[in-house]
Symmetry: C2
Subunit: 102 residues, 2 copies
C-alpha cells in the first residue's frame, strides 16, 4: 500500500488515486463493530480473537470477517500463537491516517 503524505486532505490537491486509497482505509474503520474491536485491542495492548465474539456480540464468522478487513487495511497486525490468533493495533498507520485528515 502506498503511503499518503501529511495534510493532503486540507492543504494540497488529492489525486483520484489518493482519494481512493484514503477512502479504502477509512472505510475499514467506519463500522461500529470494527471500531469496537480496534478499541478493545488498543486498550488491551494485544488481544486474542477467541474473546471477541462475546465482547462485540457477533458470531465468530462475523468477527473474523471484520478482523480480516482491519488487517488488510493495515490497521491491525495478526500473530498466530498455537491455536489462537492475537492482534495488535498498528498505531503508526492510524497516526498516518490522522495526519492526512488534519
Amino acid at each position: 500500500m502506498r503511503t499518503l503524505d501529511c495534510d493532503q486532505l486540507l492543504s494540497s490537491t488529492l489525486s483520484d488515486a489518493d482519494a481512493s486509497e484514503l477512502a479504502r482505509v477509512l472505510k475499514a474503520l467506519a463500522d461500529p463493530v470494527r471500531l469496537k474491536l480496534v478499541n478493545v485491542i488498543a486498550t488491551s495492548g494485544e488481544a486474542c480473537a477467541c474473546d471477541f465474539p462475546a465482547l462485540v456480540g457477533k458470531t465468530q464468522a462475523t468477527v473474523s470477517h471484520h478482523l480480516k478487513q482491519l488487517v488488510q487495511a493495515g490497521i491491525l497486525e495478526r500473530e498466530q500463537r498455537g491455536k489462537w490468533a492475537w492482534f495488535r493495533v498498528n498505531a503508526d498507520h492510524l497516526a498516518e491516517i490522522c495526519a492526512v485528515i488534519c
Copy 2:
C-alpha cells in the same frame, strides 16, 4: 450530535453509542468522491456547488447526494448565495474526529 472525547479509540473504553456515532462520521468521509469534494473545498477555502460535477466527474444529482451526507455529518457547512450554494469545511469538526482516532 454528541461530541466525542479525545483519545477514546486508543486509550479509553468506547461505548456502543460512541462507536456508532464515530462510525457514522467516518462513513461520511470514507468515499473517494466525498474526499475529493472536501479536498477541493478545503484547498479553495470555499467553493460553489456548480463547479463540482465537472471536478469529480459525476452527475449533479450524485454530487448533491454526497454534499448532503457531508453536511449532515457536520463536515461541510452550506450557505445559499442567490441561486448558488457555497460550501466550507468545518475544520474544527474534522480536528475532533482526528483527536478521537489518534
